[in-house]
């Protein structure tokens, strides 16, 4: 390493990674239901898409987590988004493409994507 710029580049690259290892009570939580029903319906792809998109777009203070079956097996994959004030939005029948849209519209710009919300 020759310069501080290089040091900063490594820091920025690693910051998001090690940043996962801290608890921030005020962060937005994306919880993907990963019961057997959810996994069968493609929840893992949805989960990984959320994690990747949020990292790629460098969105801060968002935690991507999982839960078990929440009892709406018919609507899987189900994703719950909890805002900083713990208000909950439930998205149903999610796909990887829908996940990208939710990251872009809801998590970054704060607009709930009504088309995918549980009616």
């Amino acid at each position: 390493m020759k310069s501080i710029e290089e040091l900063n580049a490594i820091r920025d690259k690693m910051k998001d990674q090690v940043g996962l290892r801290s608890e921030n009570p005020d962060c937005t939580k994306v919880v993907v239901a990963m019961g057997t029903c959810g996994i069968n319906a493609g929840a893992r792809e949805v989960l990984n898409t959320f994690a990747e998109e949020i990292a790629a777009k460098k969105v801060k203070d968002v935690m991507v987590s999982q839960s078990g079956c929440i009892g709406m097996c018919k609507y899987e994959p189900v994703v719950e988004v909890y805002g900083p004030g713990n208000e909950k939005v439930t998205y149903v029948e999610m796909t990887a493409d829908k996940a990208k849209e939710v990251v872009e519209k809801h998590i970054i710009n704060g607009q709930i994507v009504n088309d995918y919300v549980l009616k």
Partner: protein
């Protein structure tokens, strides 16, 4: 891109309780479940709660699994990592509430802690320099090399109020200032790190080296820049194999990344670090003995002055700081002296790491702001004393320190208060004792250690501590007179005044402090020939209460000396001339008929 990180403690505590097997099982199960690209397994340093090891934390949820066994791993992987269902029965029960799992930071053990020296321990992989850099590692070195003059660095450390964490509590900035200025035109100076942690019960330096080795390297380079040194040495005890191995890895990585070596960050500053292993002599933790040992000679102290700042290693100006002291430096540089000085008491700033041991629930490592009371550390963070026993004393400062009785539990802990009550901070070992500990026996234990570890160079320590040990032995055997106690005390003051180095001068402290607070126990041994705590064997006698004895013969069958006689269904009797006082009969008796006096 990993969506989840599983952190496993790879410190010495958890390694000895089997964390390597857990890690292996975890990697296998993750592979089996096809999660290798989604879940990252990270081996970290110590989390602090060693009593509950092996420990594993799953992020982003921050779920804290304790006392994990290899056979639990398949369930954790398939339930938690795959399906998102936390395995509550394996989680640290303090975090389990009626509404689910609460944050680790809200538990009694962690909520009163403030982690500066330990900030990366249990968070990063110590064998990966990039993780350290990701937590602002080497930013402080970059800052001093490009934005600060050496005198500014020293001033910042002075203003922060940081004092040596190895025991003495000498102001770190002052040490640096002397080493910078005292000798003009020195052709070579040295920066040394004392990692020869030898106090029984203290293991914070080991945990920093194992969990965050780069912080020490960075701080030593900063010190080198401040005093004008180009070479550093870390003197680490060979009994810390994990720490040694991680230091070697860290030094090599830092060299590879150009963070040690020539012209760091393209500046004129060059600095490198070598490792030197100690062979297990306690005295080599004393600064002059440590340097003598690095030079390749027998580790013996030498008189001061000249102080190391003037003539240290190889007769060159040298600074020597302890591991924990260094671990504070980068944070002080990045956050400023005022930030650090805002924590702690008037004369003791910042935080201190304590190694909790002895009769306490949460054996482990805690970091609290200076000025926290002993009561908070023992009762809240430490979880109190097991088995409903009563607190008797806390021993701080190892063989150089003393015992703090219950009456001083509410004194804010800092350097000066501890000295005021006859103990000392030392490196931060904190051994808790309950009513079952005999204070004379404790004093004897520490003296035995000192006698064993005395290097023998000066008479007060070599001969004096031996005589002290003999007097203590006489007391615990019930052969001493009151005059012996007076002689013992007189000898203590003589050794304190005349020993060559700090170890000899402080060796009488365990005796002096127990004499000060627990003189009645000494007197009970001498006058009444009794050990109130029931520890000193020579003064014990075992008796069978004939009214309670059912004549079951269990005691006579277990007695290794054949000292118990009696017939079935009739009260038994102990022959005191044959009794070895091992206590086996008392453990075996179901009727509480055997008493120890």
């Amino acid at each position: 891109m990993y969506r989840s990180h599983v952190l496993i403690c790879g410190g010495t505590g958890c390694t000895s309780s089997g964390s390597a097997k857990i890690e292996e099982a975890l990697r296998t199960e993750i592979e089996k479940n096809g999660l290798s690209s989604e879940v990252q397994v990270v081996k970290t340093g110590c989390f602090g709660l060693c009593a509950l090891g092996p420990i594993m934390i799953v992020y982003p949820e921050g779920t804290f699994y304790s006392m994990v066994k290899p056979e639990d791993i398949p369930e954790i992987v398939s339930e938690h990592l795959l399906k998102g269902r936390i395995v509550s029965r394996l989680v640290y029960q303090e975090t389990v509430t009626d509404d689910g799992i609460k944050s680790l930071n809200d538990t009694d053990f962690y909520k009163n802690q403030h982690r500066i020296a330990l900030r990366n321990c249990g968070v990063i992989n110590p064998e990966n320099i990039e993780e350290y850099i990701g937590r602002d590692g080497y930013q402080a070195l970059a800052k001093v090399l490009t934005q600060m003059q050496p005198d500014d660095v020293i001033q910042t450390i002075l203003d922060s109020g940081l004092r040596g964490r190895g025991g003495g509590g000498f102001p770190t900035g002052m040490k640096w200032k002397l080493a910078r200025n005292i000798v003009k035109d020195a052709d070579q100076k040295y920066v040394c790190c004392n990692a020869d942690e030898g106090d029984p019960g203290a293991f914070m330096d080991r945990s920093v080296l194992e969990g965050d080795p780069h912080v020490v390297l960075e701080a030593m380079a900063i010190a080198g820049y401040a005093i004008g040194a180009t070479q550093g040495y870390i003197y680490v005890r060979a009994e810390y194999p994990i720490a040694v191995q991680r230091l070697e890895i860290a030094i090599n990585q830092a060299r590879e990344y150009g963070l040690l070596g020539k012209n760091i960050f393209g500046t004129d500053f060059s600095f490198d670090i070598g490792l030197r292993l100690g062979a297990g002599a306690f005295v080599c933790g004393e600064e002059t003995a440590l340097m003598t040992s690095i030079e390749g000679n027998r580790g013996e102290p030498r008189p001061r002055p000249p102080f190391p700042a003037e003539k240290g290693l190889f007769q060159k100006p040298t600074i020597l700081n302890n591991v924990e002291t260094y671990a504070n430096i980068p944070q002080i540089i990045l956050n400023g002296a005022d930030w650090f000085a805002s924590m702690g008491t008037e004369k003791s700033k910042g935080t201190k790491v304590f190694a909790l041991g002895g009769k306490i629930h949460n054996t482990g490592l805690v970091e609290v702001p200076m000025g926290t009371t002993l009561r908070t550390v023992i009762e809240e963070i430490g979880g109190g004393i097991p088995n409903g026993k009563k607190f008797k004393a806390a021993q701080t400062g190892g063989p150089s320190g003393g015992c703090i009785p219950a009456e001083h539990m509410d004194i804010p802990i800092d350097y000066d208060n501890l000295i005021g009550i006859g103990s000392m901070m030392g490196s931060g070992g904190l051994i808790v004792m309950d009513e079952d500990n005999c204070m004379v026996d404790i004093a004897k234990f520490f003296l035995e250690f000192t006698v064993d570890e005395s290097c023998g160079k000066c008479t007060p320590c070599r001969v004096g501590t031996k005589r002290m040990y003999e007097m203590l032995d006489k007391i615990t055997k019930g052969n001493a007179t009151l005059e012996d106690i007076d002689k013992l005390e007189e000898l203590c003051y003589y050794i304190k005044a005349n020993a060559l180095c700090g170890l000899g001068q402080t060796a009488p402290n365990p005796v002096l402090s127990t004499l000060r607070y627990f003189r009645d126990e000494y007197i009970a041994h001498v006058v009444d020939k009794k050990c109130p705590a029931g520890v000193c064997k020579s003064l014990l006698s075992f008796e069978i209460d004939p009214d309670k004895c059912k004549g079951c013969t269990a005691c006579s069958r277990v007695c290794p000396a054949g000292a118990i006689s009696g017939t079935v269904k009739n009260p038994h009797v102990i022959d005191k001339s044959k009794c070895l006082k091992c206590g086996a009969c008392m453990e075996k008796c179901k009727f509480g008929a055997i008493t120890k006096k």
